[in-house]
C-alpha cells in the first residue's frame, strides 16, 4: 500500500523537481511543442528541446502517408489534381510549437495582430502557411498574425496558453476562433520524463464511462475554454469572433496534401466570411 500523503504544495514541489524544476509554463510548452511535431520528428529523441525549427510534415500530412498516397494510382491522381505532387511545404514553428512565419516567437511580433485559435484547420495541416485562413485574414486586414492553431486538439492547450502566456502578444486587434470538432479533450502524458500533448482518445483511459461521455465532457470544456478566450479578448479590448465552420458547397473545398483536410479554396472561403463578419460588426 502506498501510504504517501499528498499535500498540494509539497506535491507541486515534488513534481517540479521531477520535471527538472520545470514550471507550468515549461510543461505547457513541451506539450504544445511535441504535439506540433507529430508526424515529422521523433518526439522521443532525448536531445529534443523546444526551439524554433522548420519541418516538412505535420500530423496526418506525414511523409509516410504521402508516399503511400503517391504509390496508389487513385490517390496519386488526387494529389496531382490538387497540385501536391512534388510540392514542398514548410512548417515553420516557434519554440511553443505554434506555426509562425520565420519561426518568430510571439513576443517578437511587434505590430498589431490578429490572434487565431483552433485545431489543424487553423494550423493549416497539409497546406503552405500562405494558404491558410489565418494568414489570408491577417493579410486582408493588414495585420500581423499570431496563429495558435493546435493540431489534433480542442481549445484546451491554446486557451491555457492565452490565459497564462497571452501577455506576450503585444497588440491584438481581433481574436478569431474556429471551433474544433467535438469530443476532443487534451491529456498530457509523461512518459520516461517526456511530456507529450495527447488527447483522451489516444490514451489508455479506456473505461467505458470515459469513452461514452467524452463528447459531453469535451463540450463542457469547450464552453469553459471559449469563456477563457472571451475574457482574455475582453481584457485586451480585442473583439472576439467565434466560427463553427465556413459556409460552402461540399466537394468544392479542395484537399490539402494529406488528402484529409480541406484545401486552399476552403481557406479562401473562410477568409472571405471572416472578413465580411468583421466588416459587418
Amino acid at each position: 500500500m502506498d501510504n504517501r500523503t499528498y499535500d498540494w504544495q509539497e506535491w507541486l514541489n515534488t513534481q517540479s523537481a521531477k520535471f527538472d524544476n520545470r514550471t507550468d509554463q515549461d510543461m505547457l510548452r513541451m506539450a504544445l511543442f511535441t504535439n506540433s511535431l507529430h508526424g515529422s520528428k521523433d518526439i522521443w529523441a532525448p536531445d529534443l528541446t523546444p526551439e524554433p525549427m522548420v519541418t516538412h510534415w505535420n500530423g496526418l500530412d506525414s511523409e509516410q502517408r504521402y508516399r503511400a498516397n503517391s504509390n496508389d494510382p487513385v490517390q496519386r491522381e488526387r494529389l496531382a489534381q490538387w497540385g501536391w505532387l512534388d510540392r514542398k511545404i514548410e512548417y515553420e514553428i516557434n519554440s511553443w510549437g505554434f506555426r509562425s512565419a520565420g519561426c518568430r516567437e510571439v513576443e517578437d511580433i511587434d505590430g498589431p495582430s490578429v490572434v487565431t485559435l483552433g485545431c489543424s484547420f487553423t494550423y493549416g495541416t497539409g497546406l503552405p502557411y500562405e494558404s491558410t485562413w489565418p494568414y489570408l485574414v491577417s493579410k486582408q486586414l493588414g495585420l500581423d498574425l499570431v496563429n495558435l492553431g493546435t493540431p489534433g486538439h480542442g481549445l484546451e492547450l491554446n486557451s491555457h496558453w492565452l490565459l497564462t502566456q497571452g501577455h506576450r502578444i503585444k497588440d491584438p486587434q481581433f481574436v478569431i476562433v474556429l471551433i474544433p470538432p467535438p469530443g476532443r479533450m487534451t491529456w498530457i502524458e509523461e512518459v520516461n520524463g517526456r511530456l507529450i500533448g495527447n488527447t483522451f482518445s489516444m490514451t489508455h483511459l479506456h473505461h467505458p464511462g470515459i469513452i461514452a461521455n467524452l463528447e459531453l465532457n469535451a463540450f463542457l470544456n469547450y464552453v469553459k475554454n471559449i469563456e477563457t478566450i472571451r475574457l482574455w479578448a475582453q481584457s485586451r479590448n480585442a473583439p472576439l469572433h467565434v466560427f463553427t465552420g465556413f459556409a460552402g458547397k461540399q466537394g468544392t473545398f479542395g484537399l490539402a496534401r494529406d488528402l484529409c483536410h480541406n484545401g486552399e479554396h476552403w481557406h479562401r472561403l473562410g477568409c472571405e466570411q471572416i472578413v465580411q463578419r468583421i466588416k459587418n460588426s
Binding site: 510543461m27 497564462t164 490514451t203 461514452a212 461521455n213 463528447e215 463542457l220
Partner: protein, 302 residues
C-alpha cells in the same frame, strides 16, 4: 452584434456543432443539455450518501447527512467507545445538521437558487468549503460573508476540485449580479471531474477520473493495483487543470474589478473536528475566515 458573445451565445454555437455531428459516437450531449448535465452532476454528487433518494430528479432538498458525514458512519462511531467520546467532546451528540441544497446542488441557505441580485461573496472549493459535517453558519464562507454583509454563493463541491464549479460560474455568471469578491480555498490534488451521462436516463452524475480509472482508497492512499503511470498522469493533468481554473476565475474577477483571493490552508491547524470526525471543525473555519478577512482588508471579528 455583440462584441463579445455571451456564454449562452456560444453554448448555442457549440450545441449546433454537436447536433451536426450526430454520427460521431456517444450522443449524450445531444440528449442532455449541457446546463442540465452540469447541475445534475453537481446535485447528485452533493447528495451522495445522504438521506435523499438518489432515484429522484434534482430539486431543492433539505437533508441530514452528506458524503463522509453519513448516517452509517455516524452510527458506527457512536458504537465505538473512543469515537463516541470524541463525538461527545466535539458536541456532535444530538446535534442534527440540516444541509439545504438548491435545485442545482449548491449548499444554500433556505435552498435559495443562485439568482442573486444583491451584493454577494462567491467561494469555490471542495468539502472544506461546502462544509461537510458542519452547520452552514460554521463554515468559513458563511463567516466571511456575514462579516461583510454579503449574500453567500457557496460553490463548494465535496470530493471535487475546481472543474465543475468554475464551469458553473462561467456559464451562469450573469445570474450573480453584484459579486463583491471571489475566493478559492485550494483543493487536494488528483481531482479531475468527469460527468457521467446515460442516454437512457435524464440525469448525469459527477465522478472523478481517478475513481473511474479504478483507483481505490482515499485521496491520500491508493491501492497498489492502480498503475503508477496513471496516478502520475492524473496528478499532472489535475495540476494543469487546477492552474487553469484558478487563473480563469482570477481573470474573471479582474475584469469585473472585484477582489480575488486564493489560499492554501496547509499551515492552519484545527483543534476541533466536524461531525464526520474526518473534516476540520469550526475553529479551523474561524481561523480561515479571520485570515481571509484580513487579506480582504476587513477587521477580524468572527
Amino acid at each position: 452584434m455583440e462584441l463579445y458573445p455571451t456564454p449562452s451565445d456560444y453554448t448555442q454555437y457549440l450545441q449546433s456543432t454537436l447536433n451536426s455531428h450526430q454520427n460521431h459516437g456517444a450522443a449524450t450531449a445531444e440528449f442532455i443539455p449541457l446546463s442540465h448535465a452540469l447541475s445534475s452532476g453537481v446535485w447528485f454528487n452533493n447528495i451522495a450518501l445522504s438521506d435523499i433518494d438518489p432515484s429522484i430528479n434534482p430539486m431543492p432538498v433539505r437533508m441530514n447527512w452528506c458524503g463522509s458525514d453519513n448516517r452509517t458512519e455516524y452510527d458506527q462511531n457512536l458504537r465505538d467507545p473512543v469515537q463516541h467520546a470524541r463525538l461527545q467532546q466535539e458536541g456532535w451528540i444530538d446535534n442534527p445538521i440540516v444541509y439545504e441544497l438548491n435545485r442545482e446542488g449548491w449548499r444554500s441557505e433556505g435552498c435559495r437558487e443562485y439568482d442573486i441580485p444583491e451584493p454577494s461573496l462567491i467561494v469555490l472549493g471542495c468539502s472544506f468549503t461546502y462544509g461537510t459535517g458542519l452547520h452552514l453558519h460554521q463554515t468559513w464562507g458563511h463567516k466571511v460573508s456575514s462579516q461583510l454583509g454579503l449574500t453567500l454563493v457557496n460553490l463548494g463541491m465535496p470530493g471535487h476540485s475546481l472543474d465543475l464549479n468554475t464551469a458553473w460560474l462561467m456559464m451562469n455568471q450573469q445570474r450573480i449580479a453584484q459579486p463583491q469578491a471571489v475566493i478559492i480555498c485550494e483543493t487536494p490534488p488528483t481531482r479531475i471531474s468527469w460527468l457521467l451521462g446515460d442516454i437512457a436516463l435524464p440525469n448525469a452524475y459527477a465522478h472523478t477520473l481517478l475513481r473511474l480509472a479504478g483507483a481505490k482508497g482515499t485521496v491520500s492512499n491508493y491501492d497498489t493495483s492502480t498503475p503508477s503511470w496513471l496516478i502520475d498522469n492524473i496528478k499532472l493533468n489535475s495540476a494543469v487543470n487546477y492552474y487553469k481554473n484558478r487563473c480563469l476565475v482570477e481573470q474573471w474577477a479582474k475584469l469585473l474589478g472585484i477582489k480575488f483571493l486564493h489560499f492554501n490552508s496547509s499551515g492552519v491547524s484545527a483543534k476541533t473536528l466536524a461531525r464526520d470526525l474526518a473534516h476540520y471543525g469550526e475553529d479551523w473555519h474561524s481561523t480561515i475566515a479571520g485570515k481571509v478577512l484580513e487579506q480582504l482588508g476587513q477587521k477580524e471579528n468572527t
